[in-house]
Each structure stands twice: as C-alpha cells, then as structure tokens.
Symmetry: C2
C-alpha cells in the first residue's frame, strides 16, 4: 500500500528542514507519494490567507502531513491544521541526547497534550470597554479520548503508567472534569496514574526530571510544560511532535522558523527528521522508524553538527550523514 | 506610628516558619502589634471552614499580614486572603543565592503577577453531562493597575524596564487586552518593555535566565512561570512573595506545608523571613528590610543550614543566626 504524504514546509527554516525529512523518507524507498502545500507568512503576504483552503483540504485528506514551521501567522496555520487532521492529542517527547548540552541531561519525558479544547477552543468576547472574557471548554468526551490514547500509549511498554498535570485546585469544574475522567479511564484499563498541579510540576521537573515519565495534560498546560522540558533538554531544536487524529496525523518539529538563520542552509534538521520517524511509526513502519531515530541519535552523538550544536555542518551534510547511517 | 500585623501560620511548616519570622520582626523592636488568626486544614477539620470569617476580617483590616502555608485547603485559604487585602499584584522574586545549589545559579528574576482575575476569576459551569466551561476574565482596569505598579517598581532602579509574558497569539482578545494595556501604560510612563509568549519564556528561561529581569504576567502564567523559576533557583524553599493591595498587603513564602518534615522543627525559615523583609519594605522600613535580607543571605551563604540545604540545624538555630547578624 502506498501512502500520500502532504508536505507543508511553511516559512523560514521550515523550508530547509522539511525537504531534509522528505529526503530521508525517500531514501527508504517506501513508495510514498509526496504532495506539497503552501502555508505561512509568505503565502499570506501574497494571498491574504496564511492557510489556503487547498492546503487545509490536503492535510484533511492525506494519510499524514509533514509540517515545517510558520512565522507570525503560526497560530493561523497550525491550529486549523490540527483541526484538519482532527487531532485530539499532541505527542511531544522531550529527551536529552547524549553528546548534546542540556540543562538537565537526565530529562526523558513524553507529553500527551489535549489538542482540541481548553483555552484553545477560543470563544472570546469583549463584553465592555473594560471587560474581555474567554470561555475555556473541557469536555468529558475529549478527556476520555485523550485518556484512551494515553492508556494505549503506555500499555505493554516500559512506561509505568502516567502522570496527570492540571490545575484542578483553581479550575475545579473544568480541570476537575479533566482529571477525574482521565483517572477513571486509566483505572478501567488497569493503568497506574498519579497527579500533580501544573505549577508544582514546573518546579519539580527542574529539580528532578527523572521523577516524571509520561505526562498527560490539558492543552495550554501541555504547551507550556513541554516547552519548559524543551528548555531542560537544551532547546527546541531537537524536539519532534505528532498531532494525531483518528484517521490521519500531522508531524512537526516544536521549533519555529528561526528567522536569524533562515536561508543559510544551516538549520538543524534533527527535530524534523525525528518527526518523520514518528510519521513512519504512525503508518506502521516500526522498523524504519527505529532505524531513522537511531541514525539521528548517532549523528547527534558523533556529528556532523550544525552551528546550533557548535559544529559547522550544513542541513544537507547532517541529512546525508543520517541517510548514510540507514 | 505602630502597626498591627496579622499572623496566620496555617498548617504544617507554616506553624514553624511563621513564628520564626515574627521573632525576627520582634527583635527589631519596631513596636509592631501581632494578632494571630487561624486558617487551613486543621481549623477546617474542627469548624468546617478553612478560612474563618474572623481571620478574613483580620487580614482585611490590619496593615499587613504574615501568612505561612495551608495544606489541601490552600486554594480556599489563600485566594480569599488575597481578596481580603484587595491584592492586585503578587510580587515574586526568584533569585539564586550564593552557596545554594541551583539548576541555574544566574537566575535573578522578579515576577509581577496579576492577582485578581484570569482563570482565577473562576466562573465555572457544567453546561451538560459532557461539557464544562470556565470564563476567564481580563479587564483593562486590572491590567492598568498592575502596569502602573510595574512602572513604579522599575522606575529609578537598576531594572531596565520589564518583559510582558502572555499567550496573546491564542488568547487574542483577553491576553491581547492585557498586553496592549500594559504596553500602553508603560509607554505613557517612559518605561521600556518587551514581550514574550509564555511557552517561549518557559524554554528560554531555562536556557538563559539572564536575558530576563522583571516579568509582568497574567495570573496563571505568573503562577506557573514563577514556580518554574523556583525550580531553577533550587526549589520553593527560598522564595518569598508579597500580595499587595492599595491599603494593605499579605506576605507569604511560595512553599507549601511540607508535611514530610512538619513538626520536626527543621523547616527552612528563609523564604518566610525574606517575606517578612518584604513586609518591612512595604511599611516603609527600608533600612530594616535591607538588614534582614542581608542577614538571611549571609546565613544562606555561611550557615547554619537546615536539612533541605544539607545541614542539620533547626528552624530555631537558623532564626537565631539571622537575628544575631542584625
Ligand atoms: C503557535 C502556537 C499557536 C502553538 C500552540 O500554542 O499550540 C505552539 O506554541 C505550539 O505549541 O505548537
Ligand atoms: C494554592 C494555589 C491556589 C496558589 C495559586 O495558584 O495561586 C499557589 O499555587 C500560589 O501560587 O500561591
């Protein structure tokens, strides 16, 4: 079976790291068909729309999408794209790699972030000159769907259950519903959980990241806490992510467009290539996924390195080094 | 002029560190009158109420309050107490001390956290079996009041303006109003600002805390980001905070009740004593405030140390060491 893969490089270094990931996938000769779509600041400048309808439709109809990064228009691109794939969970591993400088080299976490609601549901009003409101939405059904994914994710692996991070001491009804639902689904599945307030998590993950493993959280908590973990492992440059829906999924590096280095061919493609490995795993190519991940890991350990990691290799050099290791 | 100070030790180590702070204040012989109030899990067990009305009234009528910590009932105690003093800003310095192990010893930040609204305004509903909502509120007036405080706070100091941390790319109306209002007040006052998304802040503060200084943020962002900074400086044990209102204020350590060590007389009183120094400053005793802060700092540098810092001194030993240095 062949797969159609949407490729949406976006802006800045998205234009450099996305082709690198495609090169790696092509080198595997799995017969993928790649279809390119436009999104981001550049296309908005041209057409007035950061995410043209045809790009949305492309993501909504292909098996999987490789997304790069978008500039100022990021929220206008990535939030609708997550919706296009009906993505209910954002999987964000944050792992320190041997040989790479990290604030906390022991960090090895996976965030399973609710990807559809919370403050991102986005009903905002300006009630008066003085008062603005935002309606934060938490549903039992979305919490259940996330919890079932989380249970599957840890079942039969070395992960010993998961931690629920929330702020139910203040958001009692909404985060309370989230916590109670996730807990009860986990209990039904015989999965161990513990819980932590998101503020306490922020402190404790700095002091001792090894006490956490898989962390399940509402949308904004997942956004902030996974970016915090990115800081602990040495930056966004190495973090992949997967936006998973029931029928399709979208894979993106956590980093942005890096305007300071964009265009020089020196962007680190690691996060994007590991995102492509997550795509392979999603499509059932487990062996190939592992091979790509290992090839990236040994390239990170042994070089060549792009300038962000202290080397002087180009995006292409690193990509070739990964392909050579496959 | 004498001042009436409410003293609310609360639960756990609150019962140990709060008297330590009172001892330090008494040693200064400023003629303060201390009036004790009850709050927390223990009084809730007895009376059904975590914050008895008379304790609320006490905090709402004295010049300043020293609060310790509360256990499971923390939210039911501290949120109404903040309201009792009409506290519109929570001042949270997060500074690494020489001689104390820190993940990021260069950290020296002050968070000015909006203290009345955001998700803490807390209008929650269960619309249906499936759907719960929370109405997050951001007003121009609260943002203005905070911004004016922030401008005063940095004016004529070594602080070079402040950073606004927010999530206005997603919460466009509400955090947009917050950001725009704070910015415009700062402009009117000739204060420099820059801004950062709260998720990006979480990454960058780990990588390079020195790029930030004073950080102004909405309520929940301030909660999580200041706790993150607490992790970077080595834990909550050393962080003081001030909840400031127009006519009175409440001072509390950022740490909790530490049930594992409560009752042993081994709690580190540093955060609480620095909170008392913030109280002194608030009441206009600037010299005394500096003296207490310096006495705590040299005690942290030279000892004696409580067990959390690797020593075997008691709360009382450390308190005496601070008083001896005054
Ligand atoms: C660009 C922005 C809308 C997005 C988010 O908040 O989810 C980003 O920060 C992320 O985490 O992918
Ligand atoms: C106890 C809780 C309600 C409180 C808060 O969220 O503000 C605490 O975390 C804090 O930061 O003082």
């Amino acid at each position: 079976m062949t797969h159609e893969i949407a490729v949406i490089p976006g802006d800045g270094i998205g234009q450099e790291v996305t082709p690198a990931a495609v090169d790696v996938l092509e080198s595997l000769e799995l017969g993928f068909e790649f279809v390119e779509g436009e999104a981001g600041d550049a296309v908005r400048e041209e057409t007035g729309e950061a995410l043209p309808q045809e790009t949305y439709d492309l993501a909504a109809s292909t098996d999987a999408t490789l997304f790069g990064a978008a500039g100022d228009s990021a929220a206008d691109v990535i939030l609708p794209l997550r919706e296009a794939v009906d993505s209910f969970v954002n999987v964000r591993p944050a792992k320190a790699y041997p040989g790479i400088d990290a604030v906390r080299p022991e960090t090895d976490l996976v965030f399973l972030r609710e990807n559809t609601e919370g403050v991102y549901a986005g009903h905002e009003d300006r009630l008066s000159e003085d008062v603005s409101t935002l309606t934060r939405v938490v549903t039992e059904s979305a919490s259940e769907r996330l919890a079932e994914f989380a249970c599957d994710y840890v079942s039969g692996t070395e992960h010993d259950g998961f931690t629920i991070a929330h702020k139910a001491n203040v958001m009692r009804e909404t985060d309370g519903l989230f916590r109670d639902t996730v807990k009860s689904v986990a209990e039904d599945n015989g999965i161990e959980t513990d819980e932590v307030l998101m503020d306490a998590f922020a402190t404790h993950v700095c002091l001792d990241p090894e006490q956490f493993d898989v962390v399940v959280c509402p949308n904004l908590a997942g956004d902030v806490l996974s970016d915090l973990a990115a800081g602990l492992v040495g930056g966004l440059g190495l973090l992949p992510s997967a936006n998973i829906g029931p029928d399709r999924a979208l894979f993106e590096p956590v980093h942005g467009t890096a305007p300071d280095i964009a265009g020089d061919g020196l962007a680190n493609p690691a996060a994007k290539i590991i995102s492509a490995a997550m795509l392979l795993e999603y499509l059932g190519y487990d062996e190939e996924a592992d091979a790509v991940t290992e090839a990236v890991e040994s390239t990170l350990a042994e070089g060549p390195h792009t300038p962000d990691l202290g080397g002087d290799a180009s995006t292409e050099d690193v990509t070739e080094a990964v392909i050579d290791r496959l």
